[in-house]
């Protein structure tokens, strides 16, 4: 199975990179863009296990490695 993991900074955490990208967009003339938040995207291929186990593994690696729970949250999707 393939799992997609999205990691984003928590809403309460300031995102200096997103802010910089937003500033650039404004200077390019995209005045309607209100905010940009930068995140990370992972495609994880998991073989040889049941879909249920695969889901559990994807959740586990997102929590243990791909995201830092102090500043980030994550969402796991299956393909």
């Amino acid at each position: 199975m393939k799992a997609r993991v999205y990691v984003t900074l928590k809403k309460s955490v300031f995102d200096p990179q997103g802010k910089t990208i937003h500033d650039a967009l404004l200077s390019m003339g995209y005045s309607s863009v209100a905010e940009v938040r930068q995140g990370k995207f992972f495609e994880v291929t998991i073989d040889g296990v049941s879909p249920e186990q695969g889901r559990r593994i994807a959740e586990e690696i997102a929590a243990r490695l791909l995201a830092n729970p102090v500043i980030e949250s994550y969402r796991v999707e299956e393909e």
């Binding site: 309460s12 955490v13 300031f14 200096p16 490695l65 791909l66 830092n68 102090v70 500043i71």
Partner: protein
């Protein structure tokens, strides 16, 4: 006293730390490769600065799973000093030995410059014998040094007196202009609840000899050797 300097792939302040500990301070010092599991015979461990694993994923995120880190966690439990400098700080945070996380600097840029740091606590192995309120000048060199902790946890950290260093003005006061990276409460260094795990973003090893233009960092290594002798 015997001190170990942990070397991860991508560490680049390991030799500087080794040099100061061995040649400036006269400590018996050895490198500890990150695949080594044992820290036998060591009295203190230093996690040096650099870019372990190229900062892939997050600073310190991969290094935290290096075999040596399991031993570092056990070593810290014994109460022995574990010191983190810059990337070493980030690795200790990822390993759960120190609180918080480092965000990208608020100005997004990598910062390499001298800063003033105010010593907040003298009851750690890295600050023993210094005075709270003392100012030290040391360089910083990081892109992710913007210390962050949610408000409630930050309050608990402050209440427990676990903030060891803050970025400060030359007057000793705190102001936004003297906080290079946007860290909450201008935090530059913290310690564990047991106070034996201590880390800071500035580089004391790059300011430990007159030839380098500043020797303030040497004070921290002197404190470390003092606390090892006392232990």
């Amino acid at each position: 006293m015997r001190v170990g300097v942990v070397v991860f792939p991508g560490s680049n302040c390991d030799h500087d730390s080794y040099h100061v500990l061995k040649h400036v301070m006269g400590c018996e010092t050895r490198f500890v490769w990150h695949k080594e599991a044992g820290l036998e015979g060591l009295d203190a461990v230093v996690l040096p600065g650099g870019f372990a694993y190229g900062d892939y994923l997050r600073t310190g995120a991969i290094a935290r799973f290096s075999p040596v880190m399991r031993s570092v966690v056990e070593f810290a439990k014994t109460g022995a000093p574990v010191i983190g400098i810059c990337n070493g700080f980030q690795i200790l945070q990822e390993a759960g030995l120190l609180p918080g996380a480092m965000l990208r600097n608020r100005g997004v840029k990598f910062l390499s410059q001298p800063v003033q740091v105010r010593v907040e606590r003298a009851d750690t192995p890295l600050t023993a014998g210094l005075r709270a309120g003392e100012l030290l000048t040391m360089p910083i060199a990081h892109g992710e040094g913007n210390f962050y902790l949610p408000d409630d946890e930050l309050r608990r950290l402050e209440d427990a007196g676990r903030v060891v260093f803050r970025y400060a003005a030359r007057t000793g006061g705190l102001d936004d202009a003297s906080n290079p990276n946007g860290s909450v409460n201008a935090i530059a260094g913290v310690c564990s609840a047991q106070r034996n795990v201590v880390a800071l973003m500035p580089h004391p090893e790059r300011a430990a000899e007159p030839a380098l233009g500043c020797s303030d960092g040497r004070r921290l290594f002197e404190a470390l050797t003092r606390s090892l002798v006392a232990a």
